[in-house]
Amino acid sequence: MRSVVLLSGGIDPVSGRPAPPSGEIAAIGLALSAGGAVGGVHVGLPAAALGQAAGHGLGQIACLRGVGDPVAILAAHLSAAPPDLVLAGSRACGGEDSGMLPYLLAERLGWPLLAGVVAIGTVADGWLPVTIGLPLGARQDARIRLPCILCAHDAAPAPPFVFDRARRVAMHAVAVADAETIAPPEGTERPYRARPRLIGSAAPAGGGRVLDNPDPAEAARVLLDHLRALGMLDA
């Protein structure tokens, strides 16, 4: 099994200092749990955040130095020596942050993709079993054909950071052919302004129904009916 983790560099959203997004650290954890050789790939110049990501368990990172569409560069690089598994984060942090890159790559390579992966199992007759994390702690089992692309869930277990590994990582620049250029995004860019969320949509307006001093049996009946109506007791 050979896995490749896609690393985007990135910054910490609070401090602005170089840091890998949490989804990419989770992706490294998934790659390590799959066993076999694991390597990192980044389109662009070596960056400080890459070393920090490597501290979570990568021995080597290939930095593809080409000009143009990173999807095309990655697709060319991956199809030259196809790995079994490509792992990505849910979205980058510090660039366009749309989370589109793995999807565009999957479409271009014609590989299947699953997002929100929290755990992967061992391959059995060409299928890789994975566990998908859903809101409210729910889980879903799925199987996917190899080779494939998996986007890690941000909350998937992250391997611990080892400073020495971050220091020793071998980052080699790989010269690649230039790809087609992509149009810069439209619109005007400016500093972020936090806008308030809609309020009052979570809490019902005003007080609700009040049952003053019911006898216990009646109170229990009303409580149960109310919880049933909210759909909390079907499961």
């Binding site: 729910a138 005007t188 400016r190 949509s201 009040v210 216990p216 109170a219 909210l230």
Partner: protein, 358 residues
């Protein structure tokens, strides 16, 4: 005593009060029973029917359990914003049919897609369903499923996409970029995804929500097989993720009943700080400013006063239910249902009822 005549404000109020209506309404000139009473009697249901709008805007809405949630309503609301007065809104409903509610939420047409289609075939099925409408925009929720479909759709169709739009009008969409330190304002793209609580749901006149036939889903060589969703076990679930939390406050003394009840209801256990400080519940169970902020749908507060520090932990909770002996406790003002009774009596009664039923 001589002098000015005494006023009786209560009698005056009763004289001015217009009967009927949900809220008291006073007519200072005096209510003589002749004025027109608004809101009295059932109103004729009005509905907007749109035959051939200038263009279509589509909204993809998840309704796995046949219920249209807040996020789904907001997604439809933003499609209405983009449609303006000339456009029509078509709802692509993934899950069970809720046509009635979808019309209320602003949809002119509804197409139902099955959840069983699976993520790999979904963009093809969506494109087939959208083809007759040639929508100018397609709006999705930036939820795990909605965000996934949106990106698959964008990759398949090549349509430009703006993800996580935080402000939306017909002419402009603003989304954070650069690690939420910068933002970009641009003309709304063909595909948009919306986080929760950013755009208001539709509040206008009911729309038709006319059902349209679903497209045939082309068979694909299966590259992905998805199993059923497994709901988490309430007991072992992290408090921050749990959908249903039952919490004990200082008013709970009978903890055996509390634990039994939480197990029977399938609720995750929480507690107020007083209870955690007393060592009656683990610190990890503390709800509030210095504990866990919940993401639950329902919160059952037993013997909890509802101090501000505690209520901060209920940020996103939609339904609060309170059992408390004090009618004036702050939690009662936040609750959708309050039982003013002794928790030590209500809990055993509820246990008996649940045991008797099942």
């Amino acid at each position: 005593m001589t002098g000015r005549p005494r006023r009786d404000p209560r009698a005056e109020r009763a004289r001015c009060l217009v009967p009927g209506g949900a809220r008291p309404r006073l007519v200072r000139a005096g209510w003589d029973g002749m004025a027109i009473v608004p809101d009295a009697g059932p109103r004729e249901p009005v509905m907007i029917r749109l035959e051939t709008p200038a263009f279509w805007v589509a909204a993809v809405v998840e309704a796995p359990d046949g219920r249209l949630d807040r996020w789904g309503r907001q997604t439809l609301g933003s499609a209405r914003v983009l449609a303006g007065t000339d456009g029509g809104v078509v709802a692509l409903l993934v899950g069970r049919d809720v046509a009635e509610a979808v019309g209320e939420a602003g949809a002119d047409r509804v197409v139902c897609l099955e959840t069983a289609i699976g993520p790999d075939a979904m963009p093809g099925a969506m494109l087939a369903a959208l083809a007759p409408f040639a929508p100018r925009h397609v709006v999705l929720a930036e939820s795990p499923a909605g965000g996934d479909w949106a990106r698959r759709l964008a990759a398949r169709s090549g349509w430009p996409i703006q993800t996580g739009v935080e402000m939306l009008s017909a002419r402009q969409a603003i989304r954070p970029v650069g690690g939420v330190r910068r933002e970009r304002a641009a003309v709304p793209a063909r595909l948009l995804t919306l986080p929760i609580d950013r755009v208001a749901p539709y509040g206008g006149t009911r729309r038709e929500g006319r059902p349209c036939p679903a497209p045939d889903v082309p068979a694909m060589a299966a590259r992905i097989q998805v199993g059923p969703v497994i709901a988490a076990q309430a007991a072992g679930m992290p408090l921050a993720e749990a959908p249903f939390v039952m919490a004990a406050g200082h008013g709970v003394r009978d903890f055996d009943s509390f634990h039994t009840l939480s197990r029977l209801l399938g609720a995750t256990e929480g507690a107020s700080r007083v209870v955690c400080d007393a060592g009656l519940m683990p610190r990890a169970a503390q709800v509030g400013a210095s504990g866990t902020v919940l993401d639950a749908r329902c919160y059952l507060a037993v013997g909890i006063a509802g101090a501000p520090q505690h209520l901060q932990g209920l940020g996103k909770v939609e339904h609060v239910v309170a059992v408390n002996t004090d009618l004036h406790a702050a939690i009662v003002a936040r609750a959708g249902l309050s039982i003013i009774a002794d928790a030590q009596a209500v809990m055993p009664a509820l246990i008996a009822l649940l045991r008797g039923e099942g």
